[in-house]
């Protein structure tokens, strides 16, 4: 099996697991399937020789985010059997166009690839660009810190018990 076949296999698995994650009505299973999608993405990124992106994908998306998802899901009440059956029918209806959209996107990308005369930047140049990207992104880092701060406020404001609002008037 050469590298092209491995890429094809991984990309096919990525699409299949993404669809399964979107269609699954058990939210905990959907979160686990999403973690598998992240894992596959990390593998693809490793094969594309971008280890830094792969490690981030693996640690943050497959790891940290899945832990947060599962922690939050564990605080919620699961659906009853009847609710699950009802929800399943709704979900299938909601995503009836999903396979069609996937096929259209695949066809569009196939055509885009064939019609383009653009030659991507070589791997060595990307490595230089990557170096620049990580050394000159302090401004983005500040933006990301602010997003985390906003998230913290969001959790405090939206999930804190209402009785706390009755504090100081």
């Amino acid at each position: 099996m050469d590298l092209v076949h491995i890429h094809f296999l991984l990309l096919s698995l990525l699409v299949i697991f993404s669809i399964l994650a979107a269609l699954n009505i058990r939210i905990i299973k959907a979160a686990i399937l999403l973690a598998v999608v992240s894992l596959l993405t990390a593998l693809i990124l490793f094969l594309l020789e971008t280890p830094l992106a792969a490690i981030f994908e693996l640690s943050v998306c497959a790891g940290l985010i899945t832990v947060i998802f599962i922690s939050v899901i564990s605080l919620t009440n699961p659906l009853t059997r009847e609710e699950r059956i009802e929800e399943k029918a709704k979900t299938l209806k909601r995503f009836v166009f999903l396979p069609g959209i996937v096929l259209v996107c695949a066809a569009a990308f196939y055509m885009l690839e064939n019609s383009t005369n653009f030659i991507p930047i070589g791997a060595s140049e990307i490595a230089v660009a990557q170096e620049g990207l990580w050394n000159s992104r302090q401004f983005d880092l500040i933006g990301q810190i602010i997003i985390i701060l906003a998230g913290v406020f969001g959790v405090i404001v939206l999930f804190k018990d209402n009785k706390d609002d009755g504090g100081k008037k």
Binding site: F118, Q138, I142, I147, L149, G154
Partner: protein
């Protein structure tokens, strides 16, 4: 100035939280920050430069202020100021005022970062900063409608986010960098390439979704109408204008440039937004929903001006962004005043409120006239510029449409003014009084700006608007 306007809100958030101070202290600190933000544009010696020098020793940030960013930070600070005062009038609890003040500071760190950056990825990060703070601000009251509005905004905005991120990866692939200048060069060199075309199309579509332009408007009315009163002022006045429209102006002006396809997309979406926004505004029964759909229509004018594809068109769009921020904030402040005094926003339940709330009624009438483009108010001059820009660019049909649609604007605003403030007083409203001083003072201040900018428009154009786009 640039670095300090990004760092000071973050430093303030830290100082307000460690140790946690009261909501009132946070409120006054944020108001002071807004005043300082405006002063730092006109008087850089007020500390912003010295502070920037200190921060610059630790961080290396590739940011700088130009004419466009100055216009936006002035507009943002004015809208933020009145929005916070409006919020205070509705805040029953200290903790709510504290959270709101902090979230507004975080939004401002995002707004200032967005307007000063010259890098498409940094722009994306700061758009997300503003969006993250906005979701929470909309849902702050935890009422069902507000949570639904915030959630809808989150979901639709996420679609735009994915499109923009994918577009940035394509830009990076072709340009080897995410700087505006490098991407602009790549677009010039590989203009007809499908990868570049896809990237441009995805990014512009993402920004149009964030700006709530037709046909991407479905989130906007719910978010504006269900958000707490002060947050509606903030959202309607500046948030969507910054994350959607200002970012669009920046990308079109500094990165992609204008070609016939881009111009046609902008002209058609702009025209659709003007007409459909106006028609939908006529049919609404909720005061804030009328204003929300009116925002879609007014944003349509801005997009239409950009569709002219000239520096004059961009100048007209920028001027209308500023004017819209002022008169739309005024209208949202007045809707807050009406809600505060009557407990309702249903326009059919009012009538004759002008007798009881003369300041609110008078300032609303001026804001309506400015929005409809009646001289000598500020809105007239920016609409006139839009029409002239379209006409001189050869799009006479769209210029005529802009004039005709102004009549529509006039129609729905006159209907609203008549239903709410004119006519016989509804007996149920006999005990209603004028809004509290904080709200009427905000309304008078914004009203004075609308009249003042209209009267000194040559100065505004020559000193701020035209130099920002290189005309002069």
């Amino acid at each position: 100035m640039t670095i300090s306007l990004i760092f000071v809100p973050i430093i303030l958030v830290i100082l307000l939280n460690i140790p946690r101070l009261s909501g009132k202290t946070a409120y006054y600190a944020v108001l002071a920050f807004f005043i300082w933000q405006i002063l730092s544009v006109f008087f850089p010696f007020t500390g912003s430069q010295q502070l920037a020098g200190l921060i610059g020793k630790v961080f290396t940030l590739n940011v700088y202020a130009d004419g466009m960013s100055k216009i936006m930070i002035i507009s943002a600070a004015i809208v933020g100021f009145v929005s916070l005062i409006t919020s205070k009038a509705f805040s029953k609890y200290d903790s709510r005022l504290f959270s709101l003040s902090n979230l507004m500071l975080l939004s401002f760190a995002g707004i200032n970062g967005l307007v000063f950056t010259k890098d498409i990825f940094t722009m994306y990060v700061f758009i997300e900063v503003i969006a993250a703070a906005s979701y929470i601000l909309i849902s702050l009251d935890k009422k069902d409608g507000a949570l639904e509005g915030g959630f809808k905004y989150l979901i639709i905005s996420s679609i735009a986010t994915v499109m923009m991120l994918f577009s940035i990866s394509l830009f990076f692939l072709t340009a080897g960098s995410t700087g505006f200048a490098e991407i602009s060069t790549a677009i010039r060199d590989f203009g007809g390439n499908p990868v570049i075309l896809a990237a441009v199309m995805l990014f512009i579509t993402g920004l149009l979704i964030k700006g709530g332009v037709i046909p991407f408007h479905s989130w906007l009315s719910g978010a504006y109408a269900e958000a707490p009163a002060g947050v509606s002022v903030f959202l309607g006045g500046i948030i969507t204008k910054t994350v959607g429209i200002f970012a669009l102006i920046r990308i079109l002006y500094l990165v992609t440039g204008f070609n016939e396809n881009i111009k046609m997309v902008l002209l058609i979406t702009g025209a659709l937004s003007i007409v459909i926004g106006a028609i939908m505004a006529v049919t609404q029964k909720d005061f804030k929903r009328v204003l929300a759909y009116s925002s879609i229509s007014q944003v349509g004018y801005i997009v239409l001006a950009l569709g002219a594809g000239t520096a004059f068109g961009v100048a007209a769009a920028l001027f209308h962004v500023f004017n819209h921020a002022i008169f739309k904030s005024l209208l949202f402040v007045n809707s807050a005043a009406v809600e505060k005094q009557t407990g309702s926003l249903d326009v059919d339940s009012f009538g004759g409120l002008g007798y009881k709330m003369p300041v609110t009624s008078g300032t609303s009438a001026i804001a309506f006239l400015s929005a409809a483009g009646i001289p000598p108010f500020a809105g007239f001059w920016s609409k006139l510029l839009i029409i002239l820009a379209l006409w001189s660019a050869g799009y006479q049909g769209f210029a005529v449409l802009a004039v005709v649609a102004s009549l529509f604007t006039m129609a729905y605003f006159l209907t609203l003014q008549k239903k709410v403030f004119f006519g016989e007083l509804n007996p149920k409203l006999e005990n209603v009084r004028e809004a509290p001083l904080s709200l009427t003072a905000c309304a008078i201040f914004l009203c004075a700006l609308t009249i003042g900018v209209g009267l000194i428009f040559p100065y505004i154009l020559n000193v701020f608007i035209f130099p920002a786009v290189g005309i002069m």
